[in-house]
């Protein structure tokens, strides 16, 4: 018997993936997935360390998020699309940007809350059907509809507010 470490489903020996939650049960790595797990592990490790010191903004940076409450700056640049949310234990949902170090839970951020995307010069935000909604300058967005952002707009995921700075 192999017990899935993710959802505790009991699988027969020899199973490779858990049919309940889709998690891989054997140690072997797939290249497509290893990137993912590295990232999660990294973000978990960095939780404490990065709190005070935001990472340097690289050349590729196209903008940043300025967290209003704590004053921290989160750079945007490694990718063109970020899902925003919070990692919670025992759940396989993994947003690209984990906001749990910034009081995400207390502020009502969903595990998979919103999507931030750059498309050429345009930057858009889209609510992914979150429980407490996404607001731009105080106006609630319709879920799954993209909303164009301008430099300086204030976005709120639930009650977690940040200002979007676009390069």
């Amino acid at each position: 018997m192999i017990t899935c470490s993710n959802c505790n489903h009991e699988n027969p020996s020899g199973a490779v993936f858990c049919p309940e939650c889709g998690a891989q049960l054997t140690g072997a790595d797939l290249t497509t997935q290893s990137i993912r797990t590295d990232k999660v592990a990294e973000s978990a490790r960095e939780k404490a360390a990065t709190l005070e010191y935001p990472r340097a903004i690289s050349d590729k940076a196209w903008g940043s998020l300025h967290l209003m409450e704590s004053g921290q700056i989160l750079p945007l640049g490694e990718r063109n699309e970020y899902t925003l949310g919070r990692v919670s234990e025992g759940q396989p949902i993994m947003p690209d940007m984990d906001l749990s170090p910034y009081q995400a839970y207390a502020n009502g951020v969903s595990r998979l809350h919103a999507l931030l995307k750059r498309d050429g010069k345009r930057v858009v935000v889209m609510d992914l059907g979150s429980a407490n909604g996404t607001y731009v300058n105080g106006k609630r967005l319709t879920p799954n509809v993209e909303r164009l952002l301008s430099h300086g707009d204030v976005v709120a995921l639930g009650k977690l507010k940040f200002q979007v700075l676009i390069k």
Binding site: G14, V16, G22, Q33, P92, L112, N144
Partner: protein, 491 residues
Amino acid sequence: MSHAQDYYTVLGVIRDATQEEIKRAYVEAAQLLHPDKNQSPGETEIFLEVQQAYEVLSNPKRRKAYDASLPKEDQTSRPILHEISYSRGQLVRLKESQLVYALLDVRVRPSDETVTAPPLNLCLLLDRSTSMKDAKMDLLKAAAIHILRDLRAEDVFSLVTFSDRAEVVIPASYQRERFKLESQIRAIQASGATEIYKGLECALAEVRRGLTGRRVNHVIMLTDGHTYGDEQACLDLAARAGEEGIGISILGIGTDWNDNFVDQLASRTGNTSRYIARPADIQKFLVEKFHELTRVAAEEVTLEFGPIAGVELNYAFRLQPETGPVAFGAPMQLGPILRDTHLSVLFEFMVTPSALGMNTLRLLSGNLKVSMAARPSPAPPIRVWFEREVTTGPDPAPPPTAILGALSRLTLYRMQEKARNDLKAGEFERATRGMKNLAAHLLSQGFQDLAKTVLLEAENIQRTHSLSRNGEKEIKYATRALIIERGGWVQ
């Protein structure tokens, strides 16, 4: 007889075939090739060869003398190659049941001679029920005309329409006067309900008129609706078509057709269904399917095997050329091999402790039969067996990348399958959770758009206890497409 062919090849049996197998092969060949049935040039000669081969091999004395005269069996002359890989190195003696996966890869040996593509014997079966009215019907007609223009001189073609009755618009034959036929296609009018049985029966009758082992015999059905009450009769028709060597592929348009049913229907012949979300894509999908048929190297691979105590085949899934579930039949229709794409099928076996007495366990033992229209005589069946050693120690080796990769994508497909089943069983919470898990995996593998669709459907389940019709098909066929898209796990 050409030098490359001995009597065994002519009959399509292996060298150590039993008398019973030889007799069966002869009867099968005789039915296909009997001079009363076939007028194609050359077939009578082949029939005479079959007759001669049978006379020698069915007589044990003459067979022995003949065997002595044969050169040693040359492995390199086999037209079909196959390989099997497994998810684990060994089975372990345990007190509980365990799983093992086997990946079967079958391909046609690349030959120096340029293989000419076999001619088609194709029937287009078009749904002309009321729901196909207007734009959809026009697009459908345009697509059919496109296929008509693409036919080669040696192809046999027919066109049947159906609603609550079936009608032969173009009877099966070589199509020379295409302009005249085009106007017949343009005159098709939409009206009535969708009754698949009548249409399918009529289409199969047309294909049977041109049925020979020298052609790729196939029905492509395009439909947009549900059929009611005749499902079982349709499945029986399809099973018979599969035995006769006629393939059935189905293209479903829009959201109102029953994907699970037509999948079953097509899988009875080793084929599958595809989903056309937008009517504007009808032509694209139809042309794609048509071109696939023209690239067929072996139109049908079947696997015949008996049960093995303590071993159960849980699931069989064709990874390529056309991704889809494989129906459990006897024999099992695995699907075609294309000239540029191998046939790859993944099997999942459950092994109970009682089966692990010996040091080696056969998971499956049977014969692979391959029909190749491009070859004048049937390819000999191949004995295949899946087996693993049984040990007491743990199995340290991780699964090979090919299997791991295939399973990672197949798991996504099966998760949606499972969520749909949970939903049907009224397990709304489980179904919602399953969909959310699926979305997370899709996101982590970079399929943002599909993940969003899945999340929307998770919400739909929560709110309305149902899936949206387009969402359920979109997710099913998109996760299927991911299996093909990954590729690379077969050489």
